[in-house]
Subunit: 131 residues, 4 copies
């Protein structure tokens, strides 16, 4: 499997099959998956704490750290796929929609090279609410 | 775009293009993206707090909540795609590997219908470390 | 030390001394402490995932789980105390202020027995912004 | 109220009274409070994302940001106090215990000026398990 050849649906099916085999769907309430997601994100962030950006980059160049971070990211994605499944969310279309809305919030000419929130330079949001 | 027809690579490309257009790649250090991910997960979880599983299910059946939760999930996925990009992680293969390792940790016959950690029933982990 | 006899300032001093002794203040930027906090919260939440409220209550009645959860809570508090220190925040007065503002947002007669957000029943927030 | 004069118990009582007045204790299961904590931490971290340490320091020198961050920290503490209450945890003694255990893990002579985990330089943990 590779990112180039694998659809979101295939990944959703992969982790659903894992749950079905173990009769784990009964535990996958949105709130519990949300708790699981916060846990997995915490494990991912643990790789970054108290390190400078340069240190993190250097460590990611080492096989062991790269593999560990890959697995943490995979764990986060796993939970998101299960959440999307139980909440009946099509992730690709939701992301495409979100990107479109974000483009309205962050017009290129105003947001170019700026990391601050759109509210800084667009105090009144003219577009549709996208939270 | 739909989950059935969209590859992970296409989604990675979509959010990368958004950043490139705005010259935002300079801000996308792993630690900062990690901070962003924790923020987005917090927004997602805000939809679940102090609600029972039944209430959450009922609210997800309403268009407005369903759309809001879809957008929060899309935001989380967005950050994970950027993180995978800057950390040079192939998400599909990392997830496939993680699922294989999890299958070793949670053999079907021992984990069937049980939500507890494998460490409860397998105090000594025989398999490779997968954190 | 006990909650009845220990001030916030004493706890701030305790964890500051620990950092000073190890020359760790140099690492305690707000962002890094924020990352650490998300990690610690993730570890705490790991005790709750995929468990019902009844299971969690029962497990908290056991010494080992109670002690483990106590330690996770202590870790979260530890990071908050360091954050308050480096951000020069008086936690007691900030909390007192926040409670006062929350009382405006959630008048007893309107919020009694309701878990939903004040925005549900007070679409226009009349009080000062409190994030 | 100030950190110098306020005990943890007083703060616990303050937020408990707020809940009691609104009959909100019924919603305060550990899992739900955990979800709330992750949400509040997400809001706090939102102040730090995509900003350098210098930018964050500068912004904290401004009244508005300092007040906003104070409130986010107060929100996090609020939830921790409620969690400690419902989990029957004495935070001061748990923290004192945790600091003692951390001192065993991070002896001053080995950890001085180092941000990495004790596992880097002490592959075998000799002390008691402290999660």
């Amino acid at each position: 499997m590779s990112d180039a050849e694998t659809s979101i649906e295939q990944l959703k099916a992969l982790v659903l099959a894992f749950s079905k085999e173990r009769d784990w769907e009964q535990f996958h309430h949105p709130k519990d998956l949300g708790v699981a997601l916060a846990s997995e994100v915490g494990e991912l962030l643990d790789h970054f704490r108290y390190k400078t950006n340069d240190q993190i980059r250097a460590e990611l160049g080492q096989g062991a750290t790269h593999r560990a971070v890959s697995h943490e990211l995979a764990d986060c994605l796993w939970v998101i796929l299960r959440l999307a499944d139980v909440c009946r969310v099509d992730l690709a279309s939701a992301l495409a929609e979100k990107v479109e809305l974000a483009a309205l919030k962050y017009p290129v000419d105003q947001s170019f090279g700026r990391a601050d929130k759109y509210t800084t330079y667009r105090p009144t949001d003219p577009g549709p609410s996208i939270d």
